[in-house]
Symmetry: C2
Subunit: 362 residues, 2 copies
């Protein structure tokens, strides 16, 4: 949140959600599914991850309009054991598939200790953290991963063959938490866009040029669309980030029988004319199956990390998820989410296009 | 392997193993446990990871001599559900604890789909890949993670609060495999030692100086002992590597009730006077619980990655585990493992100290 908040651009969390529910129902998504999607997207904005929030609304609506996603589809279980399930998302909305699978994993974890659910036939499921957060509410440890459209060049490769493939681990702690949600690329495309708009160079290790060399040219990097894995160059262990991207794709795409690697379609703003058939995995583990007092120890674990002497006293050491907590607090204090003018312009257009009540300001 | 192999330094794999078994039994480790440790260590050398092979023998022997590790200890199950087990390693040898836990996870995965086993009271368990490899032999996907002594500075921190905390994923494929074994620091200490011996500078993002700034001075970095997480600097998403190091510690140390973060002792060459009480996690998943023909798809997945156009035609794109396969082939062709003269000198000293038959050469 900027320190000088422009009141005109502040949207209450509930109003942002209302607008998105209305948009989804306008394209014939059942009310319950529309709510699940709106909850997911507004959570991203509330947490400060604007790229994964209302910013994605138009693309989802485009996919629904041309029927490349089935807004009414209900996931179904194809195969089950006490601790696993294989689910067909039936080309449904990401949140609908993800919530279904995570809740199934939670149920199994409560019964036998671990629930491990793989889905094929899914679509973009927003912030990966959304699903483990459901497990955390039940006192469980949660994980989720998804594959995505090819955008990352394997170490030594000139071309992209894996997506940004995020992984998330959510861990409950007594009055606290640890919530890691990270792409396995060095940075997301959004960060390159920001440097490009600023006219600023890219640091080494973010992106490649068409010859496969690291580039500092944000414009060229944006056009090439070839991100480097976490770690960047091979000498800085970029092959580890590449390996992690592979890990995510294997556990989500290959294991579920969905698309994987270069089989995943490119996702365009206009929507795609084929089903995405993304793969995802949702894992829940009951920490009570192991040493007692887990949440107390997690508090101490976090305290040891946050208590490290900072290199710069103005920048305290954080634990995964702290940035998002700070952002949510700022939204609460401001009374709403501060969207960029561009985003609100898009909302106006969507409002007219789908005959939905325009978004209201605080 | 060097291209000009010095025959005098070549040790057959079986002879390396024999020497290590003899050393362990000389310090009263039961034969079966000695074999498990020797198998683990020689596998590291065979795969080209010399830092985790015979290089560690002297430290293990020192720990056993001063009784900070119990060479005869047998792990015991403290708590069990159909898919989980909580194990006390009873301060036993890493391989003994790890093999016990992984085999238990495999048994559970075959019964209910997933086995998730956490161990407290363990010791250094060598290459993380050793345990998932056991799962792969059974057609299962395996994972393992361990915490280690503090050596990594969290992003923004001046001091170390997490270990190199490796994670491993092993995946079977038809006549192929995917085997990722990576520390969550940018590099291991060994790589800094190599630059130091060469008198060469460090790339940005490997290590910090005592003020918490990134340093290119290998000598200073070695003395400081503060590695940076995978990703390096905050701008290059080092906080993701830091988050992954946390993930490993939570799933291995915190969940098992072992030591974690700064509670883990420093490990010195001379051996430590307290038990390590490391935490580890071993996971096995049966891919047959999900989409059929998993191993066939894994082959195609690997082929898509290896088939990427390389930036430098002389350096083909690899898949996790390929480097180790290449190394094992070179060892087989040479007829033995080529140890460094320093290592062989250490073996001579151990041979005299423990009255063990000296190592023989090919």
């Amino acid at each position: 949140m900027s320190s000088s908040i422009n009141k005109k651009l502040l949207v209450a969390v509930q109003e942002s959600r209302r607008f998105m529910v209305d948009c989804f129902t306008a394209v014939n998504v059942p009310q319950d599914h529309a709510k699940q999607m709106a909850d997911l997207l507004v959570a991203a904005d509330y947490r400060g991850h604007f790229s994964h929030g209302m910013n994605r609304l138009e693309m989802y609506l485009n996919d629904l309009t041309i029927n490349s996603t089935d807004g009414a589809a209900v996931p179904k279980i194809l195969k089950e054991t006490p601790s696993t399930a294989w689910v067909d998302g039936c080309n449904g909305l990401g949140a609908v598939v993800g919530n279904f699978c995570m809740d199934l994993a939670i149920k199994k974890a409560k019964q036998v200790g671990v629930g491990w659910v793989c889905a094929r036939g899914s679509n973009h499921y927003g912030i990966a953290a959304w699903y483990p957060m459901r497990a955390m509410k039940e006192g469980l440890v949660g994980m989720s991963m998804t594959n995505t459209s090819p955008l990352m060049a394997p170490t030594r490769s000139k071309e992209a063959a894996l997506g940004t493939n995020p992984l998330c681990l959510g861990v409950p702690a007594k009055n606290d938490k640890f919530l890691l949600d990270m792409a396995t690329t060095a940075v997301a495309v959004g960060k390159i866009e920001i440097q490009r708009r600023k006219g600023a160079p890219l640091p080494d290790g973010w992106a490649q040029d068409p010859d496969g060399k690291v580039t500092n040219d944000a414009e060229l990097a944006f056009k090439t669309g070839c991100l480097m894995p976490l770690g960047g160059l091979e000498i800085n262990s970029g092959y580890k980030g590449y390996g992690l991207g592979g890990l995510v794709d294997i556990l989500s795409g290959v294991m579920s029988g969905a698309n994987y690697s270069t089989k995943v379609r490119k996702w365009t703003h206009a929507g795609a004319n084929t089903a995405a058939d993304l793969g995802q995995v949702f894992i829940a583990v009951d920490p009570n199956c192991f040493a007692p007092d887990f949440e107390e120890r997690m508090c101490d674990f976090n305290a040891r990390l946050r208590g490290c002497t900072p290199t710069d006293p103005a920048k305290p050491v954080l634990v995964a998820g702290d940035k998002e907590t700070i952002n949510m607090k700022a939204v609460d204090e401001a009374g709403g989410i501060e969207y960029l003018p561009n985003q609100l312009k898009t909302c106006e257009i969507l409002s007219e296009r789908f005959k939905v009540k325009p978004i209201g300001f605080v």
